[in-house]
Amino acid sequence: MNFWLELVIKTVLVLFLVVLPVALVVIFGELKISAHIQSRIGPYFAGGRFGWAQPLADGAKFIQKEDLIPAGADSSVFRFAPYVVLMGTFATFVVIPFGPDLAAEKLDVGIFFLLAVSSLSTLGVLMAGWSSANKYSLIGGLRAAAQLIAYELPLVLAAVAVVIQAGTLSLSGIVEAQANMEIFGLGIHLPYVLTGQILSFIIFTIAALAELSRIPFDMPIAESELTMGYLTEYSGLRFTMFFLGEYAAMISLAAVASTLFLGGYYLPGLDTDALKVAGPFILLGKTLILCFVFIWMRWSWPRLREDQLQSLAWKWLIPLALANIVVISIFKVVL
């Protein structure tokens, strides 16, 4: 088949069959879970039952809103920023394996590609903050940049520990390594989080929260300080893109974390044929569980301060991640 045709079909399939529906599910989940955490009911009317259509209704409303561009804004950068955010996020889905043979692209350097493109979206945030001609946006954008530099390192270092244990950069390879791992020859194949990677998993999750700039690390938005941070001047469709991008990024990082640490599409006890069918659903289930954890944290905790965020990254997470790599490497050599 023509390469370009194949590419377009894959992109459309991944975007519209995976990312958008799951993003809507997670947005709805956030509405309902936050409501129940706060002893509210949450959306109730839209769609007839349980307010299931609320995310769609919100989206439809946002699309109808006027697309405002501030007079002093750097117009072209301002317009382009949401696309950069979405692009960086959506590109990560290309390499995530949904089953033994089910991945848009089986890259040998999958995890390398993934970590590279996932930081692109911060560039979009910086563009948005810079071009808005708004001081709140500027501070928000710069905070986002500082946050990216601080938290990309522990994120990568935590992933490196997994790569060392699995011996491959390919995401499918990492899942297979988890499926084939033997502990003491007992015939039990457990995901990495239970076999020595618990520290990497915690570091990865914290760094992922910071990458997503969600509470407790939502300083780039910091509603009570910066009104809406880099989003202050955005409205209508462009705001929807940021909004969708945020949830798509959450899903992508949750999917990556489940692939690296929770065994991805693999579930102990299922053979390859069963995994071919059930794989996507297993991965989806694990992803949604992690998304739930992210939502849970957001509605339980306050926001840290910018300097506390930096000292958490540089004084705790990075040294811990380095020590973790040393320990994992020693085990890799010894065992």
């Binding site: 706060q38 002093g72 509470i215 407790p216 939502d218 009104t227």
Partner: protein, 398 residues
Amino acid sequence: MTDVDARAAMHLSDASVSVELETQGMTLNIGPQHPSTHGVLRLVAKVEGERVTSVQPVIGYMHRGYEKLSEVRTYAQITALVNRIDWVSGFANEIPWIRAVEKLMEIEVPERAQWIRLILSEMTRISSHLLFMSSYPLELGAATPLMYALREREYVMDLIESVTGGRFHPNFNRVGGVKPVAGGGSTQKKVSQDLPAGFFQGTREAMDRVDSVMDELDELVTGNEMIRARTIGVGVIPPEKAIEFGLSGPNARASGVDFDLRRDGEPYLPYDQVDFDVITEQTGDSFARYLVRKEEIRQAVRIVRQAIDTIKPGPLQAKVPRVLKVPKGQAYVRTENPKGEMGFYLISEGGRIPYRVKIRSASFCNLSILPWVLEGALVPDLVAIMGSLDFVLGDVDR
């Protein structure tokens, strides 16, 4: 900063590249429309990156001219105005005003009316502090305590409403007592039907609820490491500065100023007959201010519980002339309101309207410390400190 300067700061790349990279501060205008200024406060902050070098509060966006309006209103009408000064503790505002009038007229208020005033004042304190307990974590980014605190606050508001008919603006005090029951005939004969049926039972239940939500908030907020990291040592006000700037109420007590008008001032309600502690903290930081308010809720619950056990049937109104004429003279009455010390300086030249009313409101003085305490703070701390001072803009501007 002028518009030209702002452009220059935004587009450093356009400027000719100097040998040394020049940085310049930025003027950040916060408010009057901003999520965490509690209304319409405007702050002109000069920031160097994230650090605030100076802050100039601009007030007056909520000015309604109550002092001037009071000069053309009768004494009874002014009660409706003072409700609206600090709108989250409307009932407590009425007390110093009505006491000032009663002091000039030398009226002895019946005991039952005094106790009703005390119960409702303390309920107002609970509701005002619960609002702080909900909004302060929100300013630090935690959205959930808001719902928990407001949920229980609603029971207290319901009780206030059941007695006075108003949730926010009760307008319940009358010179010489409290508002008579609708259709109750002569107020001096009505002895025990002033409080609605089931009020005591409802109060006991509501107080239990408040106690239990305070336990919940203790777990959710007080012990939270991040809240502590954000507030401990932030915005420290030493006691001498607190006195210098005229801080009062919980803000002063958090700095170690052991002063509470309920205990130390000229008696205005039978606080000497109930048992309560005046809460003080020594550190004077934002967390101390949070702790003081939290404990004051528990103390207020204690006071209300004792008061509903103590209150006895009796008349609600002292004998007052049908047309209120206040004799010539001056009076100043101050009370311990939820936000701090509130005082009314009343000058009467005789007749049906006051000659001059000066309102000393707690939030106005508490806000005056902002330029001093915010100097050198970080932008996130600015919100944390401002929230911990717990002012209401209606109380600032009047």
